[in-house]
């Protein structure tokens, strides 16, 4: 019953257009009333204490690093590097998109920002070379959603804090599944692109390819710093984030000279605004999370799905379907924040590895970014690439299927995630 009150109040408020953050507070208020423990201080306390967490400082710093990466010309260099490497082979620009997406994913944590950078440069090029435009837009959107799976990742930070699991371990565990997502996209791309009549780019001479690599070297150094720093235990994720921002600033201003010091206030303000919107949502979610816990809602759900507790694979399958469904309508961060406090106790009780679950959950939420009706990355690619939304949706279908297939593969064989994660940690 409490579960019903929780769902009804949350969905009801969101349906009439209340922003998710306020809707979460509202459903918290309703839960308090329902349990006969109304006290405004529960709202105030849980709300503000949420932002007072050092780990979450990684969010503004990674957001800042991402903004600086785009403003400082790092993204552009990475895409040019990928073109020089694989642009000349058949279907090459599609492979370029995925290769660049994976490299950018290892620098930035935002799918929308990565997709925008990729779409702006690659969609016009792909159109010119004769590729089917909606399909190209679909590929780029599906490549963009790798960003939160490969570290660094805002999604992992939010999940790690909400679920109380190690962010470093989540980061390491995301690498292999992220690359798998990329490979599945390349495979799907090579299958569907066979019929297209395209003009491959001329193969760049070795000297030019070397030069492109040289220009990109500074940008390519960034994943090394972030991942290497965290992996070697030199830095915590929060410290790595601030170092990444400082590095992107240095490269953008001093090396590439595309970022002027006078642009900085605007870039910082943009990062600050993005951060505060995400964080306000995180804080609001902590209110409802507290009440979900105090109301013992997870126990209620465990009661309903009792028979599944002993069958982890089936349970995972059911949860993944649920998340896919929720993801059609809800954005990445809200999905994580609303479902984590509900699902985590169930996962623990069923004996599923929380790190494995975290990776699967985030991957699934990312797929939600490209499923209609609400798919932020769809909107980005449609806006930046000037492709109508409906056409992007048809173009994305094969890639969406490929990524769902990867997800299901990992449900059946959890070791594909768990073994490399152990090895990397």
């Amino acid at each position: 019953m409490t579960l019903l009150v929780f769902i009804a109040s949350l969905l009801g408020a969101m349906a009439i257009g209340v922003p998710v953050a306020f809707a979460l507070v509202f459903c918290g208020v309703i839960l308090m009333w329902f349990m006969g423990m109304y006290n405004s201080q529960i709202i105030a306390q849980n709300m503000i204490i949420g932002a007072d967490t050092f780990t979450l400082l990684a969010i503004p710093f990674f957001v800042l690093a991402g903004e600086l990466m785009n403003a400082g010309g790092l993204s552009k260099r990475i895409i040019q590097f990928a073109i020089a490497c694989v642009g000349h082979i058949r279907g090459g620009l599609g492979i370029v998109a995925i290769m660049a997406a994976i490299i950018m994913a290892s620098i930035s944590g935002s799918a929308a920002a990565d997709t925008a950078a990729l779409a702006a440069i690659l969609i016009p090029m792909m159109a010119k070379a004769g590729y089917n435009v909606p399909r190209s837009a679909g590929l780029i959107a599906s490549g963009g959603i790798i960003a939160p799976v490969i570290p660094p990742s805002m999604a992992f930070i939010v999940f790690g804090v909400a679920a109380n699991v190690s962010i470093t371990q989540l980061f390491m565990a995301g690498i292999v599944p992220g690359i798998l997502m990329g490979l599945s996209l390349i495979a799907a791309w090579l299958i569907v692109v066979r019929k297209d009549n395209v003009q491959p780019l001329p193969k760049a001479p070795a000297r030019e390819r070397l030069a492109a690599t040289g220009r990109a070297a500074w940008a390519l150094g960034m994943p090394v710093i972030i991942l290497g720093g965290i992996k070697a235990g030199i830095m915590t994720p929060t410290e790595a984030a601030v170092v990444a921002a400082a590095y992107a600033l240095f490269v953008g201003v001093v090396i590439y000279r595309e970022l002027k010091i006078t642009d900085l206030p605007h870039v910082v303000l943009q990062a600050a605004k993005t951060t505060s919107v995400i964080m306000f949502l995180v804080c609001a979610a902590l209110v409802s999370a507290w009440l979900i816990t105090a109301a013992n809602i997870p126990n209620e759900i465990v009661g309903y799905i009792e028979p599944l507790i002993d069958r982890p694979v089936l349970l995972m399958f059911v949860i993944m379907l649920l998340v896919l469904l929720v993801g059609t309508a809800l954005d990445l961060t809200p999905t994580i924040l609303i479902l984590t406090p509900v699902l985590m106790p169930i996962i623990k009780q069923a004996g599923i590895d929380p790190i494995y679950f975290g990776v699967m959950f985030i991957m699934n939420c990312c797929i939600g970014l490209i499923t209609p009706p609400v798919g932020v990355v769809l909107n980005v690619v449609s806006g930046v690439g000037r492709v109508p939304l409906g056409k992007v949706v048809t173009g994305i279908l094969p890639f969406l299927l490929a990524q769902v297939a990867v997800l299901m593969l990992l449900v059946l064989f959890p070791d594909i995630v768990i073994v490399p994660a152990r090895w990397l940690h």
Partner: protein, 311 residues
């Protein structure tokens, strides 16, 4: 006079910690006294937020109870800082006498003034030092060692004063920081060194007994005051029953954990009485430095009571 009540008790530790045994014993006692009307509903592992957050929730009457270490609460009641002072108690018996006696009552009164009823002093246990560099036989061996400490000024000063490089760090990061040698050492009770697997990435353990931080079983005064006198008495009595069980179990478990640490091949040593005296002497500057903020009467009060006991 007993009313049906669900009392939410939150906790930073996990259900398998001896506090779980204590809660179980306390519930049994409450069942007997209240005819099953007073129910403890426990939330483990910080599910309802951190200890400090929970304590603030108690003060505003939002949540009933919390079992928390005293250290994070010094911002609320500075006198609690007295339990962070290094090498204060020499053994558990001393601690029990002080906490369950006059001095404990005096602290309870201070807590009541900030809206908290302390039902009883449970045990977190003596903290000991583990490291991956060298055996620590005298305080000079700590020179230059990177020791993780809690975000607490007394702990920071204690280790800084002994020549170590004290680094505050979130508990969740400690294991991997030890593993990758970002830090050399950490300090915690044996049970924690065992359950958090720190011994897997450490070579030496020294029984320093440098701090005995009690667990407080705190109840919201705002809520407590609405209970009947019988209910209040039952809670206080049963918290003492739970306390005795918890202290017993944690004592046994500490021994078991120590055995396990030894079996894992770690070199374990105990500070000799002479070195214990030297390190205590060396640490007196920390007492002087923090006396004013803790409260001179509090520090002098406990020293006097300890002198009495040690006679």
């Amino acid at each position: 006079e007993f009313t049906e009540r669900t009392i939410r008790v939150s906790n930073g530790i996990n259900a398998d910690h001896p506090v779980g045994n204590g809660i179980e014993a306390m519930q049994k006692c409450l069942d007997d006294k209240s005819g099953g009307k007073l129910k403890l509903s426990t939330f483990w592992g910080g599910a309802l937020g951190g200890d400090l957050q929970a304590t603030q929730a108690l003060r505003s009457g939002v949540q009933e109870a919390v079992v928390t270490s005293s250290s994070p609460l010094v911002g609320i009641e500075p006198a609690l800082g007295v339990f962070d002072l290094p090498f204060l108690f020499s053994n558990s018996e001393e601690a029990y006498k002080v906490l369950d006696g006059k001095f404990g009552d005096m602290i309870d009164e201070k807590l009541a003034a900030v809206g908290l009823i302390n039902l009883a002093y449970w045990e977190n246990g003596f903290r000991n030092l583990s490291n991956s560099v060298r055996p620590v036989n005298k305080w000079e061996d700590l020179e230059g060692m990177k020791v993780r400490v809690m975000q607490n000024n007394v702990f920071l000063d204690t280790f800084q004063n002994l020549g170590a490089n004290a680094t505050p760090m979130a508990f969740g990061e400690v294991f991997s920081a030890l593993e990758t040698k970002t830090i050399d050492a950490q300090e915690n009770p044996y049970v924690t060194i065992d359950t958090s697997k720190f011994f897997e990435v450490q070579k030496y353990v020294t029984q320093t007994n440098h701090a005995y931080t009690p667990f407080l079983f705190l109840f919201s005064k705002a809520i407590f005051d609405t209970y009947s006198p019988e209910e209040q008495a039952a809670l206080k009595d049963c918290a003492v029953v739970g306390r005795d069980v918890e202290r017993q179990v944690i004592g046994d478990l500490n021994q078991k954990s120590l055995e396990k640490i030894k079996e894992a091949g770690l070199e374990v040593n105990v500070l000799s009485p002479e070195e214990q005296a030297r390190i205590r002497e060396k640490s007196m500057v920390v007492y002087d430095k923090h006396k004013a903020e803790i409260g001179p009467d509090v520090v002098e009060g406990i020293m006097a009571e300890l002198a009495e006991i040690r006679k």
